[in-house]
Symmetry: D3
Subunit: 249 residues, 6 copies
């Protein structure tokens, strides 16, 4: 039996992607990111100074927070108040690590970029949408900070995008939505850069294991998806040529 995708997509096909840039305007970067029905508001804030462990090194930092609005899911979910769930912490750590791979922190100097990813609507793939959209917000923020003269040179040395892939009935599928995510036996999130170098790979087969052959099939699909996302990102960043440096200093 072969899995029929609820929205009729091909196995290797992404959901429609959209980046609504400048969605709010107090933060230097603000992008309402849509991947199908998943909507994540990604904002990037800037502040002078770095956390203690970097003070005096001349290097900057990027950190991330991830949260879901209570009404983002089918059933309203309680806000996380006294403590963050393990899931939330894992995701915001992943977003931070992934987007740090885009920045040359020596060029940035002792400043901190904060990426807030707030999920307004959740139809699976929120963490990868947060990374992909967060990158657009990051580029826009750097662009604005340069125009305002706050930073002199662009520290944007890598392009980062992310996508999920999964096994359904032992076959690979790209960019799962919620129904598919629940049905999948294996779920793999992949973060890559502009050269399709792997930045992060997280795969789990709680409902079953997967072979190395299947892993490589999943990665083939992930590569395809990420190539398209990289193009969509560049189209959404007005001054891509100026803001993207492409190599670490």
């Amino acid at each position: 039996m072969v899995w029929q995708r609820p929205d009729g997509r091909q196995p290797y096909q992404l959901r429609p992607v959209g980046f609504h840039t400048g969605f709010t305007h107090f933060a230097p970067g603000s992008v309402l990111t849509k991947c199908g029905d998943t909507q994540v508001l990604c904002t990037v804030s800037f502040s002078e100074g770095v956390p203690k462990f970097l003070a005096g090194t001349g290097k900057g930092w990027l950190t991330s927070e991830y949260r879901m609005l209570p009404a983002a899911t089918q059933q309203r979910q309680e806000r996380e108040l006294l403590k963050l769930s393990g899931r939330t912490q894992e995701i915001q750590r992943l977003i931070g690590r992934s987007l740090r791979a885009a920045i040359d922190f020596e060029v940035l100097g002792e400043r901190t970029l904060t990426v807030d990813a707030d999920v307004l609507q959740a139809d699976a793939g929120t963490r990868t949408a947060a990374i992909t959209g967060g990158f657009v917000a990051l580029a826009n923020a750097i662009s604005q900070l340069m125009r305002r003269g706050v930073i002199k040179r662009s520290p944007l040395c890598g392009q980062i995008a992310a996508v999920s892939v999964g096994l359904l009935q032992e076959e690979p599928y790209l960019d799962l939505n919620y129904v598919e995510d629940v049905a999948a036996t294996v779920d793999l999130n992949v973060v890559m850069n502009q050269h399709l170098g792997i930045i992060e790979i997280q795969g789990t087969g709680e409902e079953g294991s997967f072979s190395r052959t299947q892993l490589n099939q999943l990665l083939d699909f992930a590569e395809k998806g990420i190539q398209q996302l990289l193009i969509a990102q560049r189209e959404a960043i007005a001054d891509w040529e100026e803001v993207f440096v492409g190599v670490r200093s």
Copy 2:
């Protein structure tokens, strides 16, 4: 010296108001509310059951949560994690009390409506925007719940809107923005119903006191503003005639 409004409004003039209904679609009510540059996403969720103190009474409940996204303000603000600030708690209690005045809880029966007001962008007046937009989301939610047959009769027995007024150089002004809010010596939030009956009044003159004459001038302006908001709300609620009952059972 007379106060010059930064956006050139008349003293008795509201900022442009907008209600983007159906902004997300998992919650029965979802309205992105704009009052000038202030943007609040108001969603209304529904659940069977009530808090303990009402169990067995046959009456329903409405509760509210209010939060700001970190990048909603000029300077990024930390999320409230371990505990809510006094300000946040005051505001969400105010929103809850105000919107409860719109509902006949005997008609609702033992169900709970939860109004989430998440501020995406804050240019003052977020609590009054949350109440005014929250009412639209509430009406839309009730409308959808009736269409889906979840509730049989509409419990919407009151129309509620809110606005801020303040004294600047001893003169009253309607619907202050952030710059005005900071400059005002007296700040008054007023919540009224469709008959301009007062539901809630909160005035504070930390930087100076105000006379009863000034209080009445402020209330004149508040009435004007609320009359316009009541009209705008009704225009944003497609099936107003069906959903609004207007009297308690």
Copy 3:
């Protein structure tokens, strides 16, 4: 039907008021305040220094904490441990704002006054008793600090008192006790200064709205009550003439 007050008072009559000054003696101000059966221990402490946001401005600060002892109510109430309830936070913010209107912070200089209001017995009106009694403790504290030479000039530039009024069967009543507070459809707390200028007004009609005419009737009663409280306060402050300055510098 007309409301019969349980203690036989006239509608415009206060409960007996008492200020037991010097109730404890480590804090410079300490007043056990009684309004009928409501008992609030108000103490005022003094410390050098101010919160960060005022450091270097030359201005002082006043802050307040409010708490109920567990056995203050008919049913023992749990202490608020991990977090303060919204009600507690609202009240302590109100007390702080109200009593700050009594102080010229430039005269005080970079020092902090802390008003602790601990309710030993609660028969309604605890927040207004805390403000009215807190003012007496504040004046006594300033007086003692001047005698000890800790501060040179009195920063006491305003006299502050507070009272509650409410609507019962659509008629106004002054200084509600617990039974009345529960029965009232509208509850209004009013804080005024020595000129009967309004410092704070908070009215809520969760069980029903109120007209502007009713609001003005309630304020008439509040004014009457506050005039008597202002007199009682001055009688309880031994050296009123020396400690009260009456205008901001």
Copy 4:
């Protein structure tokens, strides 16, 4: 060199003790206890039911909470909010254990007595004052509960009092005040019953050790003090003969 007591007392002499019974009247027992300048408000509340570990055993429970008001000490102390200090927890556990020795829980049945000890003024010896005064409040509470018919038989089977003793310049002193408490090298708290049986003994010599001979001298002084406290307690309990049963069932 011999220690001169600041208040001129003999080494074996208690501070003046006072029990102001019925200080508040919502809780069945309420005693403002004074030991010199130490003032502790002890209230005893009553509720049906017991903690889980006792449910179904037919036995009741007694628990205690201890807290200091912020202005109870020379320097204002922060309230314990997020967590209780080790000191506070130790003291409230000690009060609970000590007063449980006064109650026959089979006679009480599945009910809970809660002793709240709130220190209004602290001049050392607050934990022993809380126990000694808490016992008076406990007896008064039981007496009232019997008069109201809530409990049929008195469960008061033991009389409990407590005192502190200490070594100053290697000599024993009874009932230390704050100055003495700071100067003492050894501090011993003793809780005894009506037969001078030891219920609890806690001695610490952080600044120096003490011999068994000294321990016995300290216990001689503690016995003397407790004998007087037992008499004072009985005088403060109006219906001592009726309420005190004296033996476990």
Copy 5:
């Protein structure tokens, strides 16, 4: 330049592994696990009942907690008290997911197995040691529970082991110690079952990306290490043949 391993190991060589079974004896499974200088005490406890989301399904559950003792690292680390770090939560979720793949929860029935992994000494690889040693403790616990008659059939349907691999100077190395872990540009944790099916893969290249070729080299090394660990585990489990079932029911 080629990386010289500080302990002289070959690139594909594990550190010495040891399982001290029965280290404590109140829990049914207790194994002090050593991987080089890394020491993790893994205990497995058993309780009737399951979390709410499984109640009534007839299925059991396995959960895990991971913590480091403060003195486990070169510099003493604060205990995590108010909240768990993201790292801790990630790790304990990983351990739980991995070891759940070893259990047939329908055979277990509505019971919960809790795996506690407490790191006594940390020289990198603590999470993989916790999984590998946790599996041994799990098998021992099941064995004891069967001997005691608490469970009738063994639910142990999979064998699980884990290891870390990393890139140092672009070359793969197996089972990194602390010095190597810090120096690595890419770090990959791999969890596999007895068929070398992948249960979990987590790779991160914060300091640099990695190619798919490198990923496959790392997986080759991981497979080699896991094969040896699977053998060592079986040797440490006395009654392996009885306790291991090998297929889901």
Copy 6:
């Protein structure tokens, strides 16, 4: 009826004691302490600097943390996460106070020693095992710090050991195990120094009181036990003669 000890010991007989020194090796002192089936891992860490209240005094500090692993008891116990229980706080305060009596803080200078006592297995007497074993770890840590030249002179001026005694059927017994601890009516913990001077005594008779005669019998047994523990400690400390100074400077 006379109590029969479950392990056949004489009333005045200790359980077998063992000190496994150097159990872990990152902390300067690390001792796995066994008293019968009770196992406590005691580690001592060292850091420059002292808490605020000692800064600038030239004096050092010693603090302690005590915790049980979840599987240390017959039934798995939840870890204490949001707050420490009163029991845990009491115990860690006791360990800290007791071991501070071993150190001359003027010789130590402004440094902090942290004693972590983690109970791996609990069969009663964990707090006294933590003190007795903590002392050995402390001596070993000082010895190592002197060899490494971190401290010049030994600050070890006292030898500290602790034991529990209790009344079972009105007779005294030394070093109770869990079964005895539960059955005892009176439980007494005693901490003494090398001269058998009392450092700390804590006795509680919740299930019954005890006479002064019984107290002295219990202390006789405690002295016997502590004398043996002092010998065992000295045997476990390799360079006892060098590290122990014996008098405060």
